[in-house]
């Protein structure tokens, strides 16, 4: 029993790792065999060397980008939840504002980024706003739905006990919306990093977006890859953190396959 469990773990984690090593090997072989120039495609060993060499600079750029992303994420989702609460209690507000929310959502963040830099400057604020704008809508939409779609009979139950609006919110609507909110948070955790990097592309002097842009000017492709890897790891880590909190909060749910 115990042995087969360990075996399962090995298969679950070992398989993707094996594929990763295989892909890197193939990549390395292709670069060497065909003498691909390093500014077009650096070998994985070169990227790895670059990551080691950059060490603290890469970490510092990652820290900057993640700070912007997480700040934007936190501020935007708090606001999104507040607006969703208003929407859920007033169809008047929802009817009036929802179309504009959708319009803003469908406007690409890339199109807005220069404006944000113009308004908020090249420091952290424009990136926080960019990260916030992009991670605002998933929670707005899902939280509104989660607060709304409560069981009719549960509402009857609360009414029969003469519950106040606040009690209906606290005991019924809010817990009901949590699964919806968490699935949106997982989406916006990744999006917030996109927002931060796009903001850095337009005007910044630090961060992974800045590092990618500068590396491309100097054709330091290995450094660019190092930044991309850092952004990917940051994104996965943020997503994993949100998923972990979700599992802690939604203990009452059926354990689901990820």
């Amino acid at each position: 029993m115990h042995k087969s469990k360990i075996k399962n773990y090995l298969i679950d984690f070992g398989t993707p790792v094996a594929f990763f090593i295989g892909a890197c090997g193939l990549w390395e072989a292709v670069v060497r065999l065909f003498h691909i120039r390093p500014y077009m495609l650096p070998a994985p060993t070169a990227v790895f060397k670059e990551i080691i060499n950059q060490n603290f600079t890469l970490l510092e750029h990652t820290r900057v980008t993640m700070t912007e992303a997480v700040l934007g994420f936190l501020i935007a989702n708090t606001l999104a939840f507040a607006v969703a609460t208003l929407f859920a209690h007033s169809s008047f507000l929802e009817k009036g504002l929802y179309p504009y929310a959708i319009a803003l959502k469908t406007t690409p963040i890339v199109a807005l980024a220069p404006l944000l830099v113009l308004w908020f400057g090249t420091d952290i604020r424009s990136k926080v706003v960019a990260a916030g704008l992009i991670s605002f809508f998933p929670v707005l939409v899902n939280a509104t739905r989660g607060l709304r779609t409560v069981d009719e009979e549960a509402l009857d139950l609360f009414e029969s006990l003469n519950a106040s609006k606040w009690q209906v919110f606290r005991f019924l609507r809010f817990p009901n919306s949590l699964p919806y909110i968490f699935s949106a948070l997982k989406v916006s955790s990744s999006l917030s990093i996109v927002g931060a990097i796009v903001g850095e592309f337009v005007g910044a002097n630090q961060g992974l977006g800045y590092l990618i842009l500068i590396s491309s000017y100097h054709l330091e492709t290995a450094s660019m890859f190092a930044a991309i890897v850092a952004a990917a790891i940051g994104g996965v880590a943020f997503f994993a953190l949100v998923s972990l909190i979700e599992r802690r909060v939604l203990v009452w749910q059926e354990p689901s396959e990820e």
Partner: protein, 249 residues
């Protein structure tokens, strides 16, 4: 605790659709009344009017001399629905405790919760989430939740309509046990004539829509009722008599 119910010529229309037609009922303290009628005849509407959730078009209802809306606000009324309506994020004990939290009534709640869980055979499952419970247990938890705050009038809308026959019979006897313990007045809407007769002191038979009181049948079976009751001849006679009054169209 229990209360009396006086319904006088209660009529309800939704637009041009008349649902209830001059329904008058007089129910004494601690009576158990079953209501049967063809489906769609307005049984649920009648229950909601008595519970003060919707207003009648005309006619009056008094619960111990006071309007249903006020009785509901004072926490005298309890509803049980066809679905158990447990909140999936609350453990069983937290679900049962919900009415006390809403009514801000925390007096000796631990003792009361333990007692009601014991009565309904739910001891030991306090920490289970609803999804971990069977349908019968979920419905027992819904009963525990409503009896916990000791409402004087219980309005039950086909509470056991969604469970299988065997579970339903068990739940029927459980309900009778708890009712004898808490002594409330009960209005019990059901599709099943057998269930209506088995439980009640009197069975109200409603006509097809617009519903009026077609017949009122005294159930003279002795209490406490048990599995033996189901084998009695007078039980079968009462079931047949009720069924004869029940027009299906």
């Amino acid at each position: 605790m229990s209360l009396t119910l006086e319904a006088n010529e209660v009529t309800k229309s939704f637009g041009s659709l008349q649902v209830l037609n001059r329904i008058s009922l007089s129910i004494a303290k601690t009576e158990f009344i079953s209501i049967v009628g063809p489906s769609g005849c307005g049984k649920s509407t009648l229950l909601k009017i008595i519970g003060g959730l919707i207003k009648p078009t005309s006619g009056t209802i008094l619960l111990d001399g006071v309007s249903p809306v006020r009785r509901r606000r004072e926490g005298y009324l309890g509803f049980v629905f066809q679905k158990p309506v447990l909140l999936p994020w609350r453990k069983l004990e937290q679900n049962v405790r919900l009415p006390l939290e809403i009514l801000h009534n925390h007096s000796s709640s631990h003792v009361r919760i333990r007692k009601v869980l014991e009565l309904l055979g739910l001891s030991g499952f306090e920490d289970a989430y609803p999804r971990q419970l069977s349908g019968g247990m979920q419905q027992r938890a819904a009963l525990a939740r409503v009896f916990l705050y000791e409402p004087s009038l219980l309005l039950m809308d086909e509470p056991f309509g969604a469970v299988d026959e065997i579970t339903r019979t068990r739940l029927n006897f459980k309900l009778l046990n708890v009712w004898e313990e808490y002594q409330s007045t009960i209005l019990f809407v059901t599709h099943s004539v057998e269930e209506a007769v088995l439980l009640a002191d009197r069975v109200v038979v409603l006509s097809p829509r617009p519903a009026k009181v077609e017949a009122m049948i005294n159930i003279t079976l002795p209490r406490p009722r048990s599995m033996e009751t189901l084998n009695r001849n007078d039980f079968h006679e009462l079931v047949q008599c009720t069924r004869a009054k029940l027009k299906t169209t």
